[in-house]
């Protein structure tokens, strides 16, 4: 192996799959070989059986759907608020000076710690779940978008100024298009984090969703079901990540290296 030397596409895919295979093999070895008690860790076959049971008998696809809707709903609300605010903060220094200290502080407030409060304020309905995602995502997006917008190449802004661009033109025709691919990348990243918040939100005060299934299964010591739930989340994350990347490639062909 030479540092930074590229590899062929088929080899890259094969190596990527190989790790999954090794991972499952190690898991199977530990469980079927009797090295781990089935009480604590189900084997892969039990996991699949439990998963099938969940899907066919317990309408688990409904739980998956409701969890996806919570993540996407809360995330879109956060993006609608945070992206414009972040752009304004990045573009205008007084707005940045006004908001940045508070947002930096709010970013470190753990979304999960708000759950008891949110239950008091919004009950245990959908609104509370959306708010957890919203609080967890909104400050992160604002700050990252602001940094991206404020670090747009200065010489591009200067070029636009010498071409007669005025303040609005600089914002709309330079700062926003220049940072659009990075903003899309930020949204992809934060959507990944939103998945961790939704499960926490569903572990407490919820009667549906993947997180609710997981906490129910814990009471029954059904580790196969828990693992199935976790793996489902992983796969949904993988798919949403892939979709996001595909959309970004399609929207911003000019930014491809």
């Amino acid at each position: 192996m030479r540092p930074l030397a590229p590899i062929s596409n088929p080899l890259r895919i094969a190596l990527g799959i190989l790790f999954f295979v090794l991972f499952v093999a190690g898991w199977a070895y530990a469980t079927f070989g009797g090295y781990v008690s089935p009480t604590f860790l189900a084997d892969p076959v039990t996991m699949l059986k439990d998963g099938w049971y969940l899907l066919t008998r317990h309408n688990f696809s409904f739980d998956i759907g409701i969890t996806i809707w919570r993540v996407v709903g809360g995330f879109i609300l956060a993006a609608i608020v945070a992206v414009p605010l972040g752009i304004l903060m990045g573009a205008y220094k007084p707005i940045e000076a006004f908001l940045e200290p508070f947002v930096s502080f709010a970013r470190y407030l753990p979304a999960s710690a708000f759950i008891p409060l949110l239950i008091l304020w919004a009950g245990i309905g959908e609104l509370q779940k959306l708010l957890v995602i919203f609080i967890g995502s909104v400050f992160q997006i604002i700050l990252m978008v602001a940094v991206t917008v404020s670090s747009v190449r200065r010489d591009l802004v200067e070029a636009a100024l010498t071409l007669g661009a005025r303040d609005q033109g600089i914002l709309g025709r330079v700062l926003i298009p220049a940072s659009a691919p990075d903003i899309a990348e930020i949204l992809r990243l934060v959507l990944g984090w939103a998945w961790t918040y939704v499960i926490v939100a569903e572990l407490i005060g919820s009667s549906s969703g993947i997180g609710h299934m997981i906490i129910d299964s814990q009471a029954l010591l059904a580790t196969g079901q828990i693992i199935f739930g976790i793996i489902v989340i992983g796969f949904i994350g993988l798919i949403s990540d892939y979709l996001f990347k595909a959309v970004n490639r399609w929207l911003f062909p000019w930014s491809l290296s």
């Binding site: 190449r153 010489d155 591009l156 200067e158 070029a159 636009a160 100024l161 010498t162 071409l163 007669g164 661009a165 005025r166 033109g169 025709r173 330079v174 298009p177 220049a178 659009a180 911003f252 062909p253 000019w254 930014s255």
Partner: protein
């Protein structure tokens, strides 16, 4: 007739972290005539780019004022087009859209805009690249686009800050001929900053030599080589005489600047 008047303009950069302020430019007076092609020649760090940026309105003089057609320069504007040393095409716009940027900002109607863009792409030989993105073009092509983008705006003066500095020698020579050809036809007032002596002479109707930091004007020489200038002029005796003289002027300054 004077196009650009630089009156007593100096620039002092304020001190950082308790250091001493940096005097980048001594007070300078300069008058640039209409249709002149003036190159500002100086060693690196002599404040020549600072002077150009102040003319563009991207930097503010510490003293003095700059007048273009009698109006004081206070901010950047479309009447002072600029080509930068770094590649500053907007990467998200195609070559044609880049050239149209200033026209769109001015509100020129679509049809007229497209006509102007087509003309300029033809003049810089990039018609077949109209729909390419900047990153698909070589450095020379990108700078040609940048020149077309600045000129499509029909500025009163064109400012160029070492625009060919990052190009290889052959491309650089071709770009000089292209720019000179455009100037011979359009007769725009041009202010061109460079540290390359040959480039300064070949392009200019007048070369202004600047001293090492803090910059001031050291020599001001008219170049009376005939137009249209062919690249072979670079090997002519007249050219060599001017080059020898400027080499002496610049060398003394470079020695000062380098502190050797």
């Amino acid at each position: 007739m004077s196009k650009l008047r630089i009156e007593n303009v100096s620039r002092i950069f304020p001190a950082v972290h308790g250091g001493t302020p940096t005097r980048a430019l001594q007070p300078i007076d300069m008058i640039i005539g209409d249709n002149d092609f003036v190159t500002i020649l100086g060693p690196s760090g002599c404040g020549k780019s600072t002077l150009l940026r102040m003319v563009a309105g991207l930097d503010t003089p510490s003293t003095g004022r700059i007048l273009l057609d009698g109006h004081a320069v206070t901010r950047p504007g479309a009447e002072r087009g600029m080509v930068f040393q770094s590649y500053t095409l907007f990467p998200w716009l195609t070559i044609a859209e880049n050239v149209a940027f200033g026209l769109r900002e001015k509100g020129v109607p679509q049809r007229e805009r497209m006509d102007i863009v087509r003309q300029w792409l033809e003049r810089v030989g990039l018609t077949s690249f109209a729909n390419h993105y900047p990153k698909q073009l070589s450095g020379g092509m990108q700078q040609r686009t940048a020149i077309a983008r600045a000129l499509a705006n029909d500025p009163a003066i064109l400012l160029l800050d070492e625009p060919f500095g990052a190009l290889d020698n052959q491309t650089r020579a071709l770009m000089q001929e292209l720019l000179l050809g455009i100037w011979e036809r359009e007769r725009k007032t041009v202010l061109f900053v460079t540290h390359d002596i040959e480039e300064a002479i070949f392009l200019a109707s007048r070369v202004v030599v600047m001293s090492a930091r803090p910059g001031r004007i050291k020599a001001d020489i008219r170049i009376d080589l005939a137009y249209p200038r062919h690249y072979t002029v670079k090997t002519s005796p007249d050219f060599s005489v001017i080059k020898a003289r400027l080499t002496e002027e610049i060398r003394a300054e470079a020695v000062l600047a380098a502190g050797v």
